[in-house]
Symmetry: C2
Subunit: 381 residues, 2 copies
Amino acid sequence: MTAPRIGVIGGGQLARMMQPAAVNLGIHLRVLAQSPTDSAAQVIPDTVIGAHDDLEALKAFAAECDIVTFDHEHVPTEYLAELQAMGVQVRPGPHALQFAQDKLEMRKKLVEARIPCPEWAQLVTQDDLDAFTAKVGYPFVLKTARGGYDGKGVWVVDNRDEALRVMDQIVSSNTRILAEELVPFTRELAAQVARSPQGQCVAYPVVQSVQTNGICHEVISPAPDLSDERATAAQEIALKIAAALDVTGMLAVELFDTGDRIVVNELAMRPHNSGHWSMDGAITSQFENHLRAVADWPLGSPAATAPLAIMVNLLGGDLGDLHSAFRHVMARDPGIKVHLYGKSVKPGRKIGHVNLIGSNIDDLKERAWHATNYLTGAIDE
Amino acid sequence: MTAPRIGVIGGGQLARMMQPAAVNLGIHLRVLAQSPTDSAAQVIPDTVIGAHDDLEALKAFAAECDIVTFDHEHVPTEYLAELQAMGVQVRPGPHALQFAQDKLEMRKKLVEARIPCPEWAQLVTQDDLDAFTAKVGYPFVLKTARGGYDGKGVWVVDNRDEALRVMDQIVSSNTRILAEELVPFTRELAAQVARSPQGQCVAYPVVQSVQTNGICHEVISPAPDLSDERATAAQEIALKIAAALDVTGMLAVELFDTGDRIVVNELAMRPHNSGHWSMDGAITSQFENHLRAVADWPLGSPAATAPLAIMVNLLGGDLGDLHSAFRHVMARDPGIKVHLYGKSVKPGRKIGHVNLIGSNIDDLKERAWHATNYLTGAIDE
């Protein structure tokens, strides 16, 4: 028996959380990390130190992998094409990944695939701006086509002067400008699917996510008060995108729910924060299904093991004595699942999350938020 | 935040399966393995190569651990006392572990603690043999006090000549002789508890196990048709033993169920094959609770996440093309959880297991055994 060697580019917490799944499945996981102290480098023996934008480092790493996949979407696609030319399987491939890297290309492709999107336009000139705002008015949203994440590279602009200033800023960072209507959403949803090279797909329950300053903070699975019909519609959007873009591995589709419309906000072609609940609440976690999908193995059941699951992120706060807090939280609630990423604490940085399963939403919220607030130092009793 | 450094002595699959739990909890796991190809050495970056019966190797390893625990029970207790003298926490400690290493000492201690045991005696002379068989008759069971595992070091003897031959054999292997009645059991049960140094305990559901040639093969949790009263009695036995022997970490108590009596067969002071179902079927797996217990952290809920769970071991068979079999099994049953230990295949060797959760026992058995038989080459469709 020879286990496939799967190499992950990027040593963050997503690569780290693939390791438990790889250990169980007998998959040999490798990681290309920037530093030996990276989250994933701490737990994966076969760690190679190198930069994700250094072609020679990528080639040397890929030469000892059967399959290459990702912790993030920042590897230049032209480099990935070179890895493919070496005979390495790159999953998702650069032809798919380009749509996760460039939001303007993503919008064009989604329109082509008849996926519901907010109103959007590429802005180059002041005339473009005026034509777009004539349609959607102010405020609206400006985004860098490339390089944004966790709320960075996104601005809500209230007037023409502000819009022009942000447009200048985006242009000077050498990327194109995407304008989008400010969707009057009542909540955000996320639909996750896994897709294998053979085209097999599984769809996870549609979740509700709450962002704080553009960073995912709370996820509830399944999304409360979402009719079966609308949940299925959201899953169908994700399945259609996965097929249209030829995604392999996990795809997360972040959605705006306005009450009557569901439109696509962003895409991520990797395990995603909105699926961390699956580690403790689904038959097959998103990390296991990502590995199974990129290995072209049959996918595992995405079914939930409890009526409800909640995930709350630990965003770095006053965590001076985390282990003492850890003990308190575990003693108070034997059902709480604390996940830590081995990262140093910085304000607003994702350093871990808590998961909880159950059947009463109020109970789950109270317990998960108490644990989170205690661990991050926001409360002390 | 400083995560405790927990060192595991022994690089087998039990140490390997602690790694996913350690990754999630942010615990730094180390392992003392005999070879870099050991099951656990493949997945734990901080692996030290050395023998578990080499005092200098143990001391060098322990010097960089806050806590030392075990993959197996074979470390000489006098060596462990030396590690304790260095200031390292050894959990379980040698004062507890001696009862898992020596079955004669275990029987004495259990009798002292008023735990139900089979009839037993230490045999030294032929008179001892005759006195014991006058009580229990033939056949009965002879065991080496030390060194037996997975059915090795255990003989069922039918007559006096055979008994004398086995007694000679045991004496010549430099260990003492334990004689036990052949318990007319209708099935075997196992009760697992986790216990922390502070004395906190949690009890897992009592399971039913089926052995093949002395090796655990199938486990069903909870044990079918076991009344609440008898299940509680079995849990109480395990809790009482854990306290009486001052066990820290996981304790597995293997039990014989005769229909009206439940008596103790063997003890294991570590995660145990009878608890592998908990990896996919409990809020907190036995591996996570072992780490939490030896770290003296509050324990996690041992509650099941489904009405029933089944585990079947993969015992090395004709596994020429395991990955092709893997694909077939995963494609046939998206709910099956296959665990592989990264070990080479030898007949009868435990190379992995499958887990499944659900609510119908016949359905679970059919699916788990089909997967197992297909993976081990016993069937090909």
